[in-house]
Protein backbone atom coordinates (compact mmCIF):
# COMPACT_ATOMS: atom_id res chain seq x y z
CA UNK A 1 0.00 0.00 0.00
CA UNK A 2 2.72 2.44 1.00
CA UNK A 3 4.79 1.52 -2.05
CA UNK A 4 1.78 1.94 -4.32
CA UNK A 5 1.11 5.39 -2.88
CA UNK A 6 4.77 6.26 -3.20
CA UNK A 7 4.84 5.26 -6.87
CA UNK A 8 1.54 6.99 -7.64
CA UNK A 9 2.86 10.13 -6.00
CA UNK A 10 6.13 9.94 -7.90
CA UNK A 11 4.35 9.54 -11.23
CA UNK A 12 1.88 12.35 -10.53
CA UNK A 13 4.95 14.35 -9.58
CA UNK A 14 6.51 13.54 -12.97
CA UNK A 15 3.47 14.93 -14.79
CA UNK A 16 3.58 18.06 -12.62
CA UNK A 17 7.31 18.33 -13.18
CA UNK A 18 6.89 18.68 -16.93
CA UNK A 19 4.53 21.64 -16.45
CA UNK A 20 6.75 23.04 -13.70
CA UNK A 21 9.86 22.78 -15.87
CA UNK A 22 8.08 24.57 -18.69
CA UNK A 23 6.95 27.30 -16.33
CA UNK A 24 10.41 27.53 -14.75
CA UNK A 25 12.06 27.88 -18.16
CA UNK A 26 9.88 30.87 -18.92
CA UNK A 27 9.81 32.35 -15.42
CA UNK A 28 13.49 31.99 -14.63
CA UNK A 29 14.62 33.32 -17.96
CA UNK A 30 12.16 36.12 -18.67
CA UNK A 31 10.73 36.81 -15.17
CA UNK A 32 7.25 36.75 -16.72
CA UNK A 33 4.72 35.11 -14.42
CA UNK A 34 3.18 33.21 -17.29
CA UNK A 35 -0.38 32.59 -16.06
CA UNK A 36 -1.38 31.68 -19.59
CA UNK A 37 0.85 28.62 -19.26
CA UNK A 38 -2.27 26.98 -17.86
CA UNK A 39 -4.22 28.00 -20.96
CA UNK A 40 -1.45 26.62 -23.18
CA UNK A 41 -1.79 23.34 -21.27
CA UNK A 42 -5.54 23.20 -21.93
CA UNK A 43 -5.03 24.27 -25.54
CA UNK A 44 -2.56 21.47 -26.18
CA UNK A 45 -4.94 18.90 -24.72
CA UNK A 46 -7.69 20.09 -27.08
CA UNK A 47 -5.44 20.30 -30.14
CA UNK A 48 -4.38 16.72 -29.48
CA UNK A 49 -8.03 15.74 -28.96
CA UNK A 50 -8.90 17.28 -32.32
CA UNK A 51 -6.25 15.34 -34.21
CA UNK A 52 -6.38 12.07 -32.33
CA UNK A 53 -10.08 11.69 -31.51
CA UNK A 54 -12.00 13.92 -33.91
CA UNK A 55 -9.87 13.38 -37.02
CA UNK A 56 -8.82 9.86 -36.01
CA UNK A 57 -5.17 10.39 -36.81
CA UNK A 58 -2.65 7.86 -35.51
CA UNK A 59 -1.08 8.57 -32.12
CA UNK A 60 2.42 9.68 -33.03
CA UNK A 61 1.65 12.15 -35.83
CA UNK A 62 -0.99 13.69 -33.53
CA UNK A 63 1.54 14.11 -30.75
CA UNK A 64 4.25 15.56 -33.00
CA UNK A 65 1.88 18.01 -34.66
CA UNK A 66 0.42 19.09 -31.30
CA UNK A 67 3.88 19.71 -29.89
CA UNK A 68 4.84 21.72 -32.98
CA UNK A 69 1.69 23.84 -32.93
CA UNK A 70 2.00 24.48 -29.22
CA UNK A 71 5.65 25.49 -29.50
CA UNK A 72 4.59 27.91 -32.23
CA UNK A 73 1.74 29.29 -30.14
CA UNK A 74 4.17 29.78 -27.25
CA UNK A 75 6.32 31.94 -29.51
CA UNK A 76 3.26 33.82 -30.78
CA UNK A 77 2.06 34.55 -27.24
CA UNK A 78 5.44 36.01 -26.41
CA UNK A 79 5.64 38.04 -29.61
CA UNK A 80 2.09 39.40 -29.40
CA UNK A 81 1.61 39.85 -25.66
CA UNK A 82 4.87 40.00 -23.73
CA UNK A 83 7.52 41.37 -26.08
CA UNK A 84 5.71 44.68 -26.77
CA UNK A 85 5.28 45.11 -23.01
CA UNK A 86 8.94 44.38 -22.35
CA UNK A 87 9.93 46.89 -25.04
CA UNK A 88 7.71 49.50 -23.39
CA UNK A 89 9.51 48.78 -20.13
CA UNK A 90 6.25 47.66 -18.53
CA UNK A 91 6.44 46.29 -14.99
CA UNK A 92 6.12 42.60 -14.16
CA UNK A 93 2.68 43.36 -12.69
CA UNK A 94 1.49 44.47 -16.10
CA UNK A 95 2.88 41.33 -17.71
CA UNK A 96 1.20 39.19 -15.06
CA UNK A 97 -2.17 40.87 -15.54
CA UNK A 98 -1.95 40.64 -19.33
CA UNK A 99 -1.15 36.98 -18.91
CA UNK A 100 -4.23 36.56 -16.73
CA UNK A 101 -6.29 38.31 -19.42
CA UNK A 102 -4.89 35.99 -22.07
CA UNK A 103 -5.68 32.97 -19.90
CA UNK A 104 -9.32 34.07 -19.68
CA UNK A 105 -9.53 34.60 -23.45
CA UNK A 106 -8.02 31.24 -24.45
CA UNK A 107 -9.96 29.16 -21.91
CA UNK A 108 -13.27 30.73 -22.89
CA UNK A 109 -12.62 30.23 -26.59
CA UNK A 110 -11.96 26.57 -25.89
CA UNK A 111 -15.07 26.07 -23.79
CA UNK A 112 -17.11 27.95 -26.38
CA UNK A 113 -15.97 25.61 -29.17
CA UNK A 114 -15.76 22.29 -27.31
CA UNK A 115 -18.31 22.82 -24.48
CA UNK A 116 -17.17 22.33 -20.94
CA UNK A 117 -17.97 18.68 -20.21
CA UNK A 118 -15.16 16.16 -19.74
CA UNK A 119 -13.89 14.44 -22.90
CA UNK A 120 -12.37 11.00 -22.75
CA UNK A 121 -9.36 10.64 -25.03
CA UNK A 122 -8.69 6.97 -24.46
CA UNK A 123 -11.89 4.90 -24.15
CA UNK A 124 -10.11 1.54 -23.93
CA UNK A 125 -9.28 -0.08 -20.64
CA UNK A 126 -5.64 0.59 -20.02
CA UNK A 127 -3.24 -2.33 -19.88
CA UNK A 128 -1.59 -2.61 -16.48
CA UNK A 129 1.64 -4.00 -15.19
CA UNK A 130 1.84 -5.56 -11.77
CA UNK A 131 4.97 -5.98 -9.72
CA UNK A 132 4.06 -7.94 -6.63
CA UNK A 133 1.32 -5.95 -4.94
CA UNK A 134 2.01 -2.77 -6.95
CA UNK A 135 -0.11 -2.07 -10.03
CA UNK A 136 0.76 0.58 -12.61
CA UNK A 137 -1.12 1.49 -15.77
CA UNK A 138 0.76 1.71 -19.05
CA UNK A 139 0.22 5.45 -19.29
CA UNK A 140 1.73 5.88 -15.82
CA UNK A 141 4.83 3.97 -16.92
CA UNK A 142 5.07 6.05 -20.11
CA UNK A 143 4.70 9.25 -18.07
CA UNK A 144 7.58 8.26 -15.80
CA UNK A 145 9.82 7.23 -18.70
CA UNK A 146 9.03 10.40 -20.70
CA UNK A 147 9.80 12.58 -17.73
CA UNK A 148 13.11 10.89 -17.00
CA UNK A 149 14.12 11.05 -20.67
CA UNK A 150 13.12 14.68 -21.10
CA UNK A 151 14.72 15.71 -17.83
CA UNK A 152 18.05 14.10 -18.76
CA UNK A 153 18.04 15.79 -22.18
CA UNK A 154 17.22 19.15 -20.59
CA UNK A 155 19.98 18.84 -18.02
CA UNK A 156 22.49 18.04 -20.77
CA UNK A 157 21.27 20.98 -22.86
CA UNK A 158 21.41 23.37 -19.91
CA UNK A 159 24.80 22.26 -18.64
CA UNK A 160 26.74 21.28 -21.73
CA UNK A 161 25.58 23.34 -24.71
CA UNK A 162 26.09 27.01 -25.50
CA UNK A 163 22.30 27.40 -25.72
CA UNK A 164 22.03 26.22 -22.13
CA UNK A 165 24.73 28.65 -21.10
CA UNK A 166 22.86 31.48 -22.79
CA UNK A 167 19.62 30.55 -21.04
CA UNK A 168 21.34 30.41 -17.68
CA UNK A 169 23.12 33.68 -18.40
CA UNK A 170 19.80 35.31 -19.25
CA UNK A 171 18.45 34.10 -15.93
CA UNK A 172 21.30 35.80 -14.10
CA UNK A 173 21.63 39.01 -16.06
CA UNK A 174 19.61 39.73 -19.21
CA UNK A 175 21.34 43.04 -19.95
CA UNK A 176 24.74 41.41 -20.04
CA UNK A 177 23.44 38.79 -22.48
CA UNK A 178 22.62 41.40 -25.08
CA UNK A 179 25.93 43.12 -24.38
CA UNK A 180 27.62 39.88 -25.41
CA UNK A 181 26.09 40.17 -28.86
CA UNK A 182 23.35 37.58 -28.33
CA UNK A 183 19.86 38.60 -29.38
CA UNK A 184 17.73 38.14 -26.25
CA UNK A 185 14.66 37.91 -28.44
CA UNK A 186 15.91 34.63 -29.90
CA UNK A 187 16.49 33.26 -26.42
CA UNK A 188 12.93 34.28 -25.48
CA UNK A 189 11.55 32.47 -28.52
CA UNK A 190 13.40 29.27 -27.69
CA UNK A 191 12.35 29.43 -24.06
CA UNK A 192 8.68 30.01 -24.84
CA UNK A 193 8.62 27.28 -27.50
CA UNK A 194 10.34 24.77 -25.25
CA UNK A 195 8.36 25.69 -22.14
CA UNK A 196 5.04 25.40 -23.94
CA UNK A 197 5.98 22.08 -25.55
CA UNK A 198 6.83 20.69 -22.11
CA UNK A 199 3.37 21.62 -20.86
CA UNK A 200 1.91 19.95 -23.95
CA UNK A 201 3.66 16.66 -23.20
CA UNK A 202 2.17 16.65 -19.73
CA UNK A 203 -1.27 17.65 -21.03
CA UNK A 204 -1.33 14.84 -23.59
CA UNK A 205 -0.16 12.18 -21.12
CA UNK A 206 -2.53 13.29 -18.37
CA UNK A 207 -5.35 13.72 -20.89
CA UNK A 208 -4.92 10.16 -22.17
CA UNK A 209 -4.99 8.97 -18.57
CA UNK A 210 -7.95 10.82 -17.05
CA UNK A 211 -9.64 12.83 -19.84
CA UNK A 212 -9.79 16.57 -20.42
CA UNK A 213 -11.98 19.58 -19.70
CA UNK A 214 -11.28 23.31 -20.17
CA UNK A 215 -10.26 23.80 -16.55
CA UNK A 216 -7.48 21.22 -16.33
CA UNK A 217 -5.01 23.94 -17.26
CA UNK A 218 -5.59 26.00 -14.14
CA UNK A 219 -5.04 23.05 -11.82
CA UNK A 220 -1.94 21.97 -13.76
CA UNK A 221 -0.57 25.49 -13.78
CA UNK A 222 -1.15 25.94 -10.05
CA UNK A 223 0.60 22.67 -9.26
CA UNK A 224 3.45 23.65 -11.57
CA UNK A 225 3.84 27.16 -10.17
CA UNK A 226 3.67 25.91 -6.58
CA UNK A 227 6.29 23.27 -7.47
CA UNK A 228 8.61 25.94 -8.88
CA UNK A 229 8.33 28.01 -5.72
CA UNK A 230 8.79 25.17 -3.25
CA UNK A 231 11.68 23.83 -5.33
CA UNK A 232 13.40 27.19 -5.44
CA UNK A 233 12.89 29.91 -8.04
CA UNK A 234 15.84 30.29 -10.39
CA UNK A 235 16.80 26.62 -10.38
CA UNK A 236 15.61 24.39 -13.20
CA UNK A 237 16.30 21.25 -11.16
CA UNK A 238 14.37 22.79 -8.27
CA UNK A 239 11.20 22.80 -10.37
CA UNK A 240 11.42 19.05 -10.94
CA UNK A 241 12.30 18.36 -7.33
CA UNK A 242 9.46 20.55 -6.07
CA UNK A 243 6.97 18.88 -8.40
CA UNK A 244 7.90 15.38 -7.30
CA UNK A 245 7.76 16.40 -3.64
CA UNK A 246 4.35 17.94 -4.26
CA UNK A 247 3.12 14.79 -6.01
CA UNK A 248 4.25 12.64 -3.09
CA UNK A 249 2.77 14.89 -0.43
CA UNK A 250 -0.56 15.06 -2.29
CA UNK A 251 -0.65 11.32 -2.75
CA UNK A 252 -0.25 10.67 0.98
CA UNK A 253 -2.56 13.53 1.94
CA UNK A 254 -5.31 12.19 -0.31
CA UNK A 255 -4.92 8.75 1.23
CA UNK A 256 -5.16 10.16 4.76
CA UNK A 257 -7.80 12.84 4.18
CA UNK A 258 -9.80 12.97 0.94
CA UNK A 259 -9.28 13.87 -2.70
CA UNK A 260 -11.80 16.70 -2.36
CA UNK A 261 -9.24 18.67 -0.39
CA UNK A 262 -6.42 18.20 -2.90
CA UNK A 263 -6.17 21.82 -4.09
CA UNK A 264 -6.35 23.10 -0.53
CA UNK A 265 -3.53 20.77 0.45
CA UNK A 266 -1.40 22.05 -2.43
CA UNK A 267 -1.77 25.60 -1.21
CA UNK A 268 -1.35 24.71 2.42
CA UNK A 269 2.00 23.22 1.42
CA UNK A 270 2.80 26.42 -0.50
CA UNK A 271 1.87 28.66 2.43
CA UNK A 272 3.93 26.53 4.85
CA UNK A 273 6.90 26.80 2.50
CA UNK A 274 6.45 30.54 2.09
CA UNK A 275 6.36 30.90 5.86
CA UNK A 276 9.28 28.72 6.83
CA UNK A 277 11.41 28.28 3.74
CA UNK A 278 10.46 31.05 1.32
CA UNK A 279 13.48 30.55 -0.91
CA UNK A 280 12.54 26.94 -1.64
CA UNK A 281 14.49 23.73 -1.25
CA UNK A 282 17.41 24.67 -3.46
CA UNK A 283 17.23 28.44 -3.07
CA UNK A 284 19.54 30.60 -1.09
CA UNK A 285 18.59 33.58 1.02
CA UNK A 286 18.64 36.92 -0.77
CA UNK A 287 18.58 40.43 0.51
CA UNK A 288 15.30 42.34 0.22
CA UNK A 289 16.55 44.70 -2.51
CA UNK A 290 17.79 41.80 -4.64
CA UNK A 291 14.32 40.29 -4.90
CA UNK A 292 12.74 41.70 -8.02
CA UNK A 293 9.10 42.64 -7.73
Amino acid sequence: MIIQLLLNGLITGCAYALVALGFAFIYNTTRTFHFAHGAVYTLSAYIFYTFYNLLNWPLFPSIILTLGLIALSGILIDEIIYTPLVKQGASLFIQLLSSLGLYIVIINFISMIFQSETKILNPNIQPTYSLGTVILTRIQVITAISFIGIFCVLVVILRKTSLGKTIRAMRDNPDLVSAMGINPQNVRRIVFALGSALAAVSAILTGLDVGIDPHIGMVAFLNGAVAVIIGGVGFFEGAALGAILLGLLQSFAIWKISARWQDSITFLILILFLLFCAEGILGKRRRAEEVKV
Binding site: P84, F93, I94, L96, G101, S111, L274
Partner: protein, 289 residues
Protein backbone atom coordinates in the same frame (compact mmCIF):
# COMPACT_ATOMS: atom_id res chain seq x y z
CA UNK B 1 -38.11 49.31 -13.76
CA UNK B 2 -37.29 46.45 -11.41
CA UNK B 3 -34.63 45.45 -13.88
CA UNK B 4 -32.92 48.84 -13.62
CA UNK B 5 -33.21 48.76 -9.82
CA UNK B 6 -31.65 45.30 -9.84
CA UNK B 7 -28.70 46.67 -11.83
CA UNK B 8 -28.42 49.57 -9.40
CA UNK B 9 -28.25 47.18 -6.45
CA UNK B 10 -25.56 45.11 -8.16
CA UNK B 11 -23.58 48.28 -8.88
CA UNK B 12 -23.82 49.24 -5.20
CA UNK B 13 -22.59 45.84 -4.08
CA UNK B 14 -19.75 45.69 -6.59
CA UNK B 15 -18.70 49.29 -5.98
CA UNK B 16 -17.86 48.37 -2.37
CA UNK B 17 -15.99 45.28 -3.54
CA UNK B 18 -14.05 47.17 -6.19
CA UNK B 19 -13.14 50.09 -3.93
CA UNK B 20 -12.00 47.79 -1.13
CA UNK B 21 -9.83 45.76 -3.49
CA UNK B 22 -8.53 49.08 -4.77
CA UNK B 23 -7.09 49.77 -1.31
CA UNK B 24 -4.88 46.71 -1.75
CA UNK B 25 -4.10 46.92 -5.45
CA UNK B 26 -4.23 50.61 -6.24
CA UNK B 27 -2.98 52.12 -2.99
CA UNK B 28 -0.63 49.50 -1.55
CA UNK B 29 0.45 47.72 -4.73
CA UNK B 30 -0.59 44.28 -3.45
CA UNK B 31 -2.13 42.32 -6.29
CA UNK B 32 -4.66 40.15 -4.48
CA UNK B 33 -6.69 37.36 -6.03
CA UNK B 34 -8.57 36.51 -2.84
CA UNK B 35 -11.26 39.17 -2.72
CA UNK B 36 -14.13 36.85 -3.59
CA UNK B 37 -13.08 34.74 -0.60
CA UNK B 38 -13.73 37.61 1.82
CA UNK B 39 -16.91 38.48 -0.05
CA UNK B 40 -18.02 34.87 0.47
CA UNK B 41 -16.90 34.79 4.09
CA UNK B 42 -19.07 37.84 4.78
CA UNK B 43 -22.06 36.33 3.01
CA UNK B 44 -21.75 32.95 4.73
CA UNK B 45 -21.09 34.25 8.25
CA UNK B 46 -24.09 36.58 8.22
CA UNK B 47 -26.33 33.99 6.58
CA UNK B 48 -25.43 31.26 9.05
CA UNK B 49 -25.93 33.61 12.00
CA UNK B 50 -29.33 34.75 10.72
CA UNK B 51 -30.62 31.32 9.72
CA UNK B 52 -29.17 29.07 12.42
CA UNK B 53 -29.00 31.40 15.41
CA UNK B 54 -31.79 33.85 14.59
CA UNK B 55 -29.59 36.93 14.60
CA UNK B 56 -31.00 40.13 13.14
CA UNK B 57 -29.33 42.01 10.30
CA UNK B 58 -27.12 44.54 12.07
CA UNK B 59 -25.46 42.19 14.60
CA UNK B 60 -24.81 39.63 11.87
CA UNK B 61 -23.35 42.35 9.62
CA UNK B 62 -21.09 43.40 12.47
CA UNK B 63 -19.95 39.83 13.20
CA UNK B 64 -19.41 39.13 9.48
CA UNK B 65 -17.06 42.11 9.30
CA UNK B 66 -15.21 40.95 12.43
CA UNK B 67 -14.98 37.41 11.04
CA UNK B 68 -13.58 38.58 7.71
CA UNK B 69 -11.04 40.78 9.50
CA UNK B 70 -9.87 37.89 11.69
CA UNK B 71 -9.57 35.60 8.68
CA UNK B 72 -7.67 38.28 6.76
CA UNK B 73 -4.82 37.80 9.25
CA UNK B 74 -4.50 34.25 8.00
CA UNK B 75 -3.34 35.54 4.66
CA UNK B 76 -1.81 38.90 5.53
CA UNK B 77 0.55 37.67 8.26
CA UNK B 78 2.10 34.73 6.34
CA UNK B 79 2.46 36.77 3.17
CA UNK B 80 3.96 39.91 4.70
CA UNK B 81 7.42 39.10 3.46
CA UNK B 82 6.20 38.19 0.02
CA UNK B 83 6.33 40.45 -2.96
CA UNK B 84 4.99 40.49 -6.48
CA UNK B 85 4.33 37.08 -7.94
CA UNK B 86 4.68 35.22 -4.64
CA UNK B 87 2.00 37.34 -3.07
CA UNK B 88 -0.34 36.80 -6.01
CA UNK B 89 0.09 33.07 -5.73
CA UNK B 90 -0.40 33.07 -1.94
CA UNK B 91 -3.61 35.09 -2.25
CA UNK B 92 -4.81 32.78 -5.00
CA UNK B 93 -4.12 29.88 -2.66
CA UNK B 94 -6.19 31.46 0.09
CA UNK B 95 -9.04 31.95 -2.38
CA UNK B 96 -8.96 28.30 -3.38
CA UNK B 97 -8.76 27.09 0.23
CA UNK B 98 -11.80 29.19 1.21
CA UNK B 99 -13.77 27.98 -1.80
CA UNK B 100 -12.92 24.35 -1.04
CA UNK B 101 -14.08 24.82 2.55
CA UNK B 102 -17.37 26.43 1.49
CA UNK B 103 -17.89 23.64 -1.03
CA UNK B 104 -16.88 20.63 1.05
CA UNK B 105 -17.82 21.48 4.64
CA UNK B 106 -21.34 20.31 3.96
CA UNK B 107 -22.42 20.00 7.63
CA UNK B 108 -22.17 23.76 8.04
CA UNK B 109 -22.37 25.39 4.62
CA UNK B 110 -24.55 22.78 2.85
CA UNK B 111 -21.82 22.77 0.21
CA UNK B 112 -23.01 22.84 -3.41
CA UNK B 113 -26.68 22.81 -2.35
CA UNK B 114 -26.37 26.37 -1.07
CA UNK B 115 -28.46 28.06 1.59
CA UNK B 116 -31.96 29.26 0.62
CA UNK B 117 -34.42 31.39 2.54
CA UNK B 118 -32.11 34.15 3.73
CA UNK B 119 -34.28 36.87 5.32
CA UNK B 120 -34.29 40.41 3.99
CA UNK B 121 -32.79 42.95 6.42
CA UNK B 122 -34.94 44.29 9.23
CA UNK B 123 -33.42 47.34 10.88
CA UNK B 124 -35.15 48.64 13.98
CA UNK B 125 -38.56 47.60 12.70
CA UNK B 126 -38.04 48.90 9.15
CA UNK B 127 -38.19 45.93 6.82
CA UNK B 128 -36.34 46.27 3.53
CA UNK B 129 -38.44 43.99 1.41
CA UNK B 130 -39.00 45.25 -2.14
CA UNK B 131 -36.36 45.51 -4.85
CA UNK B 132 -36.79 49.28 -4.88
CA UNK B 133 -36.20 49.66 -1.15
CA UNK B 134 -33.24 47.27 -1.35
CA UNK B 135 -31.62 49.38 -4.07
CA UNK B 136 -32.01 52.47 -1.89
CA UNK B 137 -30.77 50.63 1.20
CA UNK B 138 -27.69 49.24 -0.59
CA UNK B 139 -27.16 52.66 -2.16
CA UNK B 140 -27.03 54.32 1.27
CA UNK B 141 -24.49 51.76 2.49
CA UNK B 142 -22.46 52.14 -0.71
CA UNK B 143 -22.38 55.93 -0.33
CA UNK B 144 -21.25 55.60 3.30
CA UNK B 145 -18.51 53.23 2.15
CA UNK B 146 -17.41 55.53 -0.68
CA UNK B 147 -17.08 58.41 1.78
CA UNK B 148 -15.05 56.18 4.12
CA UNK B 149 -12.83 55.10 1.24
CA UNK B 150 -12.31 58.72 0.32
CA UNK B 151 -11.18 59.59 3.83
CA UNK B 152 -8.97 56.51 4.10
CA UNK B 153 -7.30 57.35 0.79
CA UNK B 154 -6.81 60.98 1.71
CA UNK B 155 -5.55 60.33 5.25
CA UNK B 156 -1.90 60.05 6.32
CA UNK B 157 -2.57 56.31 6.45
CA UNK B 158 -3.54 56.32 2.76
CA UNK B 159 -0.44 58.30 1.85
CA UNK B 160 1.80 55.78 3.60
CA UNK B 161 0.07 53.03 1.60
CA UNK B 162 0.94 54.86 -1.61
CA UNK B 163 4.52 55.24 -0.40
CA UNK B 164 4.67 51.47 0.14
CA UNK B 165 3.36 50.97 -3.37
CA UNK B 166 5.95 53.29 -4.89
CA UNK B 167 8.99 52.16 -2.93
CA UNK B 168 8.66 49.83 0.02
CA UNK B 169 12.28 50.06 1.11
CA UNK B 170 12.27 53.86 1.15
CA UNK B 171 9.03 53.88 3.14
CA UNK B 172 10.64 51.53 5.65
CA UNK B 173 13.69 53.79 5.74
CA UNK B 174 11.40 56.66 6.75
CA UNK B 175 10.46 54.68 9.82
CA UNK B 176 7.12 53.32 8.64
CA UNK B 177 6.26 49.90 10.00
CA UNK B 178 5.46 48.25 6.67
CA UNK B 179 4.12 44.91 7.99
CA UNK B 180 1.74 46.72 10.34
CA UNK B 181 0.39 48.87 7.50
CA UNK B 182 -0.09 45.84 5.27
CA UNK B 183 -1.93 43.89 7.98
CA UNK B 184 -4.19 46.88 8.63
CA UNK B 185 -5.02 47.58 5.00
CA UNK B 186 -5.75 43.92 4.43
CA UNK B 187 -8.11 43.87 7.42
CA UNK B 188 -9.90 47.00 6.20
CA UNK B 189 -10.30 45.63 2.67
CA UNK B 190 -11.57 42.28 3.98
CA UNK B 191 -14.07 44.01 6.27
CA UNK B 192 -15.53 46.03 3.42
CA UNK B 193 -15.67 42.97 1.17
CA UNK B 194 -17.67 41.26 3.92
CA UNK B 195 -20.17 44.16 3.86
CA UNK B 196 -20.68 43.46 0.16
CA UNK B 197 -21.15 39.79 0.92
CA UNK B 198 -23.83 40.51 3.54
CA UNK B 199 -25.63 42.83 1.13
CA UNK B 200 -25.45 40.21 -1.62
CA UNK B 201 -26.82 37.43 0.60
CA UNK B 202 -29.65 39.61 1.87
CA UNK B 203 -30.51 40.63 -1.67
CA UNK B 204 -30.36 37.24 -3.39
CA UNK B 205 -31.84 35.41 -0.36
CA UNK B 206 -29.86 32.38 -1.55
CA UNK B 207 -26.13 31.74 -1.62
CA UNK B 208 -23.94 28.90 -2.82
CA UNK B 209 -20.17 28.61 -3.23
CA UNK B 210 -20.22 29.24 -7.00
CA UNK B 211 -20.71 32.97 -6.36
CA UNK B 212 -17.33 33.13 -4.62
CA UNK B 213 -14.93 31.36 -6.98
CA UNK B 214 -11.50 32.26 -8.24
CA UNK B 215 -13.15 33.58 -11.40
CA UNK B 216 -15.18 35.97 -9.24
CA UNK B 217 -11.93 37.25 -7.72
CA UNK B 218 -10.57 37.72 -11.22
CA UNK B 219 -13.76 39.55 -12.17
CA UNK B 220 -13.47 41.98 -9.24
CA UNK B 221 -9.83 42.52 -10.14
CA UNK B 222 -10.72 43.13 -13.77
CA UNK B 223 -13.29 45.76 -12.72
CA UNK B 224 -10.60 47.88 -11.13
CA UNK B 225 -8.01 47.18 -13.80
CA UNK B 226 -10.34 48.30 -16.55
CA UNK B 227 -11.75 51.24 -14.61
CA UNK B 228 -8.44 52.19 -13.08
CA UNK B 229 -6.89 52.05 -9.61
CA UNK B 230 -5.33 54.35 -7.04
CA UNK B 231 -8.26 56.75 -6.72
CA UNK B 232 -12.01 56.61 -6.14
CA UNK B 233 -13.32 57.38 -9.62
CA UNK B 234 -11.48 54.55 -11.41
CA UNK B 235 -13.08 51.64 -9.52
CA UNK B 236 -16.51 53.34 -9.55
CA UNK B 237 -16.31 53.85 -13.29
CA UNK B 238 -15.13 50.26 -13.76
CA UNK B 239 -18.00 48.89 -11.68
CA UNK B 240 -20.67 50.72 -13.65
CA UNK B 241 -19.11 49.68 -16.96
CA UNK B 242 -18.61 46.03 -16.05
CA UNK B 243 -22.11 45.58 -14.58
CA UNK B 244 -23.78 47.21 -17.56
CA UNK B 245 -21.63 45.61 -20.26
CA UNK B 246 -23.24 42.13 -20.05
CA UNK B 247 -26.66 43.74 -20.27
CA UNK B 248 -25.63 45.49 -23.48
CA UNK B 249 -24.40 42.16 -24.83
CA UNK B 250 -27.83 40.74 -24.14
CA UNK B 251 -29.28 43.05 -26.75
CA UNK B 252 -26.83 41.73 -29.33
CA UNK B 253 -28.71 38.41 -29.30
CA UNK B 254 -25.78 36.19 -28.50
CA UNK B 255 -27.10 32.68 -27.78
CA UNK B 256 -27.39 31.92 -24.06
CA UNK B 257 -25.10 28.91 -24.29
CA UNK B 258 -22.08 30.97 -25.29
CA UNK B 259 -22.98 34.31 -23.70
CA UNK B 260 -20.92 33.78 -20.51
CA UNK B 261 -17.91 32.80 -22.61
CA UNK B 262 -18.28 35.80 -24.91
CA UNK B 263 -18.52 38.06 -21.88
CA UNK B 264 -15.36 36.67 -20.34
CA UNK B 265 -13.50 36.84 -23.63
CA UNK B 266 -14.36 40.53 -23.78
CA UNK B 267 -13.09 41.03 -20.20
CA UNK B 268 -9.88 39.24 -21.09
CA UNK B 269 -9.30 41.28 -24.24
CA UNK B 270 -10.10 44.49 -22.36
CA UNK B 271 -7.51 43.64 -19.70
CA UNK B 272 -4.84 42.91 -22.32
CA UNK B 273 -5.58 46.07 -24.31
CA UNK B 274 -5.70 48.30 -21.22
CA UNK B 275 -2.47 46.89 -19.84
CA UNK B 276 -0.79 47.51 -23.17
CA UNK B 277 -1.99 50.99 -23.99
CA UNK B 278 -3.29 52.59 -20.82
CA UNK B 279 -2.16 50.75 -17.70
CA UNK B 280 -3.81 53.29 -15.38
CA UNK B 281 -7.19 52.11 -16.68
CA UNK B 282 -9.93 54.31 -18.03
CA UNK B 283 -9.99 56.70 -15.11
CA UNK B 284 -7.35 55.57 -12.62
CA UNK B 285 -4.11 56.94 -11.26
CA UNK B 286 -1.74 54.03 -10.57
CA UNK B 287 0.15 52.76 -13.63
CA UNK B 288 1.45 49.51 -12.10
CA UNK B 289 5.00 50.76 -12.33
Amino acid sequence: MNYLLHLLTMINIYAILALSLNLLVGYTGLLSLSHAAFYGIGAYISTLLMINLGFTFLPSLFLAIIGAILLSFMISIPSLRLKGDYFVLASLGFQIIVFTILYNWIDVTRGPYGIPGIPRPNIGGIKIESIASYSIFSGIIAVICVVLFYFIGDSPFGRVLKAIREDEISAAALGKNIPQFKIKVFAIAAGFAAVSGVLFAGYMQYIDPTSFTLMESVFILSIIIIGGTGNISGPLFGTILMIILPEILRFLRIPDTVAPNVRQIIYGILIIVIMRFQPQGLSGEYRFE
